[in-house]
Symmetry: C2
Subunit: 275 residues, 2 copies
């Protein structure tokens, strides 16, 4: 496995490989990797000849007062995990943007609610960095985790709208033994916060079970989930259309339960299918 830090050097190699007929796979990450990330690499590995993973804590997607400066990092550990997962090249740029970078990609509609409501500008930062990484890496297939369910929907929309010839694959959320969704931000949690943080996944499972038992009232499902939560501050708990992410009252179409909540200074998210 090689490491590349130069954006344009990476692009030259990607274009050479494409011209030779190789298929390129890509998994973007912000590092501090866990099995949630490596599972995406495993999915991508089977679909490409050359697999690139990026490790870049993208400042554009952090708001003022968010955890950009304390975001956890472990490049050596990350490199080891990427190699084990079959990555051919890790892209670890020092910086990704020109000093006079001027371009922003915004996806509306899908970004007004949920995490978009409490993290203004976040998704613009995500779509902008992903488009730039796509330009540099020229992937045929890119894999994103369903853990960031709204992000996945936003990226699918951008790729469709800008006619990027890229297959976007969603990888299933990976959970710890206690049910908690794997997240680099779990590293921030005290043991006590971790215990109560499990209530996010427990709320998701409760809501999923009700839906599976045939309940179609979003209100009743939400009430049941709400009762399970033991968080410091709820950001949102919603039942949404699985495609448009708009809140729904009746489960008459593919739906998703989504939650975001604070444990102290740490913001956690989770989601489940309500098929």
């Amino acid at each position: 496995m090689r490491t590349e830090t130069d954006p344009l050097g990476l692009q030259r190699e990607a274009l050479r490989r494409r011209a030779r007929g190789e298929t390129i796979g890509f998994v973007p990450t912000m590092g501090y990797l866990h099995e949630g990330h490596t599972s995406l690499m495993t999915i991508a590995r089977e679909r490409c000849d050359w697999l690139v993973a990026s490790i870049y804590v993208n400042p554009l997607q952090f708001g003022a007062g968010e955890d950009l400066d304390r975001y956890p990092r472990d490049l050596k550990g990350d490199a080891h995990k990427c190699e084990k997962a079959g990555v051919d090249l890790i892209f670890v740029p020092d910086t990704l943007y020109a000093d006079d970078h001027s371009t922003t990609i915004a996806v509306d509609k899908l970004t007004t609610g949920l995490c978009g409501a409490s993290r203004p500008g976040h998704f613009n930062g995500v779509t902008t960095v992903v488009a730039r990484l796509f330009g540099l890496i020229q992937p045929h297939v890119a894999v994103f985790g369903e853990k960031d369910y709204q992000q996945l929907a936003v990226i699918r929309r951008m790729v469709r709208d800008l006619a990027m010839p890229i297959e976007v694959v969603g990888g299933p959320l990976v959970r710890d033994d206690d049910g908690m969704a794997l997240s680099s931000r779990n590293a921030y949690l005290s043991p006590e916060a971790r215990l109560r943080g499990r209530s996010l996944s427990q709320a998701m499972f409760t809501m999923q079970r009700l839906a599976q038992e045939g309940e179609t009232s979003a209100k009743l499902i939400l009430d049941a989930g709400q009762q399970v939560l033991q968080v410091d501050r709820l950001d949102y708990l919603q039942v949404v259309d699985a495609h448009t992410l708009a809140p729904i009252a009746v489960l008459d179409r593919p739906a998703r339960a989504v939650v975001a909540a604070w444990m102290g200074a740490t913001r956690l998210i989770d989601n489940v299918d309500l098929a």
Copy 2:
């Protein structure tokens, strides 16, 4: 020469040709073609194996009250001109966007002044349609006219920022025998308005001559240009940095004179190099 109306059919062909090693050239237009457009096709023709020209009046780049509905059209004449200029395929979509299109590309800094100031949202419409056309056509090289000087700068910036592997080439402005910059919108002008419309190019030539004679004061150059203009309403007349498009006071770097003005309901633009 073939005509294609289906966006995804076009993309499939473009990807097939790329995979075979062909070089793709692209000239986007809004139709009602003149020698300004065909000169861009001639430039592109020499740089590619397969040349695509698009003809699409993009609603995203027209503001409320602008001339979207009356923008001149002549598809039959356009097709004939494209064929003569060596175009292999004209792309004439009925519509280019999904009903729930949600994505916008914005380039800041370069778009705050000049045409961006009087046409809010215009450049977002331009960058968004160009990015989508790039996605569909997968060009190696794309040619844009220097007539729309700010547009060319904005597209160069987008391509750089999003790391699109596309060479953007600027084609020189083409003038009529009377000096007037060719524009599809010249068709709107009455004979009397056309006569006074020539004063835009005369102002540009006056300013260029002064700069060539060694004048370095932007104010003196602007005053001389201003005296030549005989327009109904001036939008802007400026001397700007050729790269950043910021107004400059002294010609101590590559500079451009730029003008936009109204003749009745018709908005005209022009520009010259002040090297």
